[in-house]
């Protein structure tokens, strides 16, 4: 199994263009980027992939001991850059994927030119002592892990809903099961823990490459205080606050995200 197979790497865009590698976040897979990547396909080389253990990646390659550290995902990202011989890469990451991109850039700054971080957070947990307002208490994160356990009960047998006007026996309706964003429940639960208990403030403060940070002003997962923290503490960071609701602007307002990225990156 090659690195590219392990992480279900998909290539697109302009073959000789400057490379752009997209890293998805917790709870989903590379399909989250499908409304953003087309905007850059004409001028850049597009690489999307699934984090080990998610989506179409090799689930057996997920090692709970090794992947308890986000650095393992970052090292695998560097392996993908190596396998494709990519340099001067623009890494685009969402949420915990943005943290993984940052860790990779810090470890291999010679391979990465810049970062685009969509709705990142260096730490989701509150740290009252340090005056850090991450947004979540420990019990809430424990509650999330319990919720993940509850919600895999039906995942393997989910039937498509009857959508108005569509015959119930239509084969396309049967195919349309909850196949997006599903993965092995145990991996999901483990990665959820790793994601939400991670505290990478020290790594954010040592950012080796300039980053564009896109933050939604109405994001239930990342409070504005975290965006302010990144503006103050991350070297070379440009924090842009989008007038948007939710944690996934690349899905809800993709044109806004594309415009902000385009303005920041300039023509390829």
């Amino acid at each position: 199994m090659t690195v590219l197979e392990r992480n279900n790497v998909k290539l697109g865009g302009l073959p000789d263009g400057p490379p752009m590698v997209f890293v998805h976040g917790f709870g989903c897979d590379q399909s989250m980027w499908r409304e953003v990547t087309p905007a850059f396909a004409a001028t850049r080389r597009i690489v999307t992939y699934d984090l080990t253990g998610m989506g179409g990646s090799e689930l057996a390659a997920y090692d709970p001991r090794r992947h308890a550290d986000l650095q393992a995902h970052a090292d695998e990202l560097i392996e993908i850059l190596d396998a494709l011989s990519l340099g001067e890469v623009c890494l685009v990451g969402h949420s915990i994927g943005a943290t993984i991109a940052l860790l990779a850039a810090n470890r291999a700054p010679d391979r990465v030119s810049r970062l685009v971080m969509v709705s990142p957070s260096p730490a989701f947990l509150e740290d009252a002592e340090a005056g850090y307002r991450g947004g979540f208490a420990r019990e809430e994160i424990e509650g999330l892990v319990a919720l993940l356990d509850e919600n895999h009960l039906g995942w393997s047998m989910q039937m498509a809903p009857t959508i108005a006007g569509q015959p119930a026996e239509d084969p396309s309706a049967v195919e349309l099961t909850q196949s997006f964003c599903r993965t092995d429940p145990q991996i999901m639960s483990h990665f959820g823990r790793v994601t939400f208990f991670a505290d990478r403030r020290a790594d954010f403060e040592k950012a080796a490459r300039p980053a564009l940070v896109l933050h939604c002003d109405k994001d239930a997962l990342v409070p504005m205080a975290v965006a302010d923290w990144m503006r103050d503490r991350m070297p070379g960071a440009t924090v842009e606050v989008l007038d948007a609701t939710g944690h996934c602007p690349h899905m809800t307002v993709p044109e806004t995200v594309v415009a902000a990225m385009g303005a920041h990156l300039g023509p390829a």
């Binding site: 989250m32 349309l176 997006f180 307002v253």
Partner: protein
């Protein structure tokens, strides 16, 4: 008779408002546009909504908000629906309400997302049931993990003696795979030397509800400890006719036990020889009267060692041998010449090696004294010994009472024998001792802890 299917039903609006489930409409990014009366009531939302709770995510408890943003929102965008997502409503009462959330996204002709429609079902009952189910599954998984990783062979055997399940430990221990073993008679798959029908015999011999434990060897020389117990279903014995059979390889333990027994025998033999040599040296070097009393004390010591483990029930678990108190007293009575002059009363009490030797030495001194000066110095004298073990405190009390001898005169000085009794019983056993020189007969009492 006819009824309406689909649109054109004029009470539809009322139905949506008071439906037995919550109904929510949001913008594509999750902002609330409509919450029906049922859901508003569950949440305790004021009419006109709550400005602090503008999104569907904000109606959920903390974990649900994260789940919405990491899972539900992407699913609604990518595949256009979500089914029966379990989460909790953050209600005004403060008690989270478990619900099942289903949603479908509505799109225009070009496929642009217009809004999301959600239904919210009260899942309190289902939630409680699933919780119990999950708990049961966790427990079952845990037990299964214990059984499959156990180094012991753990089998389920039906009343006819056929193997019904066979764990990995059984495969390792017996050398047959589960495929080979399941369905076969257990007595054939697990062969025990000279016992071709062991399972049926043991099962017949035991009443249901009882556990059977026995040791047996296999034709290849391996030794097993076999534990059989009827399997209860849901804690009800007798519902299932099956038995659990656990096989433990005790070859090494048995081997070690045999070695220990050999070593112990050798030790005892050498000690007796040494005592014999010491007695011989004493006879040749000491003046005769001294030599006699010294040698008789040595013999008492030697007899105490003989009593240790004499009944074959050596206590391996305690790390030493044990002796029965009655046996020690009988030995002392025999050295007095006529055991019929002793009246002995007490329960079976096991003593450690240390307790046995100390008590034997003390008994020897008492017998010697009685023969010289006390009840045993004349025909009519008798000795009564009674002892009791207080189970609660573990304290043993032993009383020696002489009657029918010459009138007792309290001694003016302590002889060596009395000193020795004090030495072995007080210092060695931590006992309390009491001598009484009544004119009608000498008596003595000792109380010491046995554990």
């Amino acid at each position: 008779m006819s009824y309406i299917v689909g649109g054109g039903f004029d009470t539809a609006a009322e139905l949506i408002e008071d439906a037995p489930c919550g109904i929510v409409v949001t913008d594509p990014d999750g902002r609330l546009r409509y919450v029906n009366a049922t859901l508003a009531h569950w949440l305790g939302l004021p009419p006109g909504g709550d400005a602090a709770r503008p999104t569907l995510a904000s109606l959920l408890t903390g974990p649900g908000r994260i789940f919405y943003d990491t899972h539900l929102a992407p699913m609604m965008r990518l595949q256009g629906f979500a089914r029966e997502i379990s989460c909790r409503l953050d209600t005004a009462s403060g008690t989270p309400l478990p619900v099942l959330l289903s949603g479908v996204s509505r799109r225009d002709a070009e496929g642009r997302c217009l809004r999301h429609d959600f239904t919210v079902f009260d899942a309190r009952e289902r939630h409680a049931y699933e919780k119990a189910l999950q708990q049961a599954k966790r427990e079952a998984d845990e037990l299964a993990a214990i059984v499959s990783s156990s180094p012991n062979a753990i089998l389920r055997v039906d009343a006819a003696g056929h193997v019904r399940s066979w764990n990995a430990g059984a495969t390792r221990l017996i050398g047959r795979s589960a495929e080979e073993a399941v369905g076969q008679p257990v007595a054939r798959i697990v062969a025990l030397t000279d016992r071709p029908g062991w399972f049926a015999e043991e099962m017949k011999g035991a009443g249901r509800g009882a556990e059977i434990v026995f040791e047996a060897s296999q034709p290849d020389g391996r030794e097993l400890e076999v534990t059989m117990a009827p399997i209860g279903t849901h804690g009800l014995p007798g519902v299932s006719e099956d038995w659990s059979v656990i096989l433990r390889d005790i070859t090494r333990r048995k081997h070690a036990e045999r070695r220990l027994k050999v070593i112990l025998g050798e030790m005892r033999h050498r000690m007796k020889n040494t005592l014999g040599v010491v007695a011989g040296l004493a006879r040749q070097t000491l003046p005769k009267p001294h030599a006699e009393s010294f040698v008789s004390r040595l013999q008492a010591l030697s007899a105490a060692h003989d009593a240790l483990g004499a009944d074959g029930a050596e206590d391996m678990s305690g790390g030493g041998t044990a002796a029965d108190l009655r046996l020690l007293i009988d030995t002392a009575a025999r050295t007095a010449g006529d055991p019929a002059r002793f009246e002995i009363d007490g329960p079976a009490v096991r003593l450690t090696a240390r307790q046995a030797t100390s008590l034997s030495m003390a008994l020897h001194e008492l017998v010697t004294n009685a023969l010289k000066y006390g009840a045993l110095s004349c025909e009519s004298g008798r000795v009564r010994i009674d002892y009791r073990l207080d189970e609660a405190t573990g304290r043993l009390s032993l009383r020696w009472r002489e009657r029918g001898g010459p009138t007792v005169v309290p001694p003016t000085r302590r002889g060596f024998g009395t000193k020795m009794i004090g030495m072995v019983l007080k210092a060695e056993l931590g006992g309390e001792i009491d001598f009484e020189f009544a004119p009608e007969g000498f008596s003595f009492e000792v109380v010491f802890p046995t554990r």
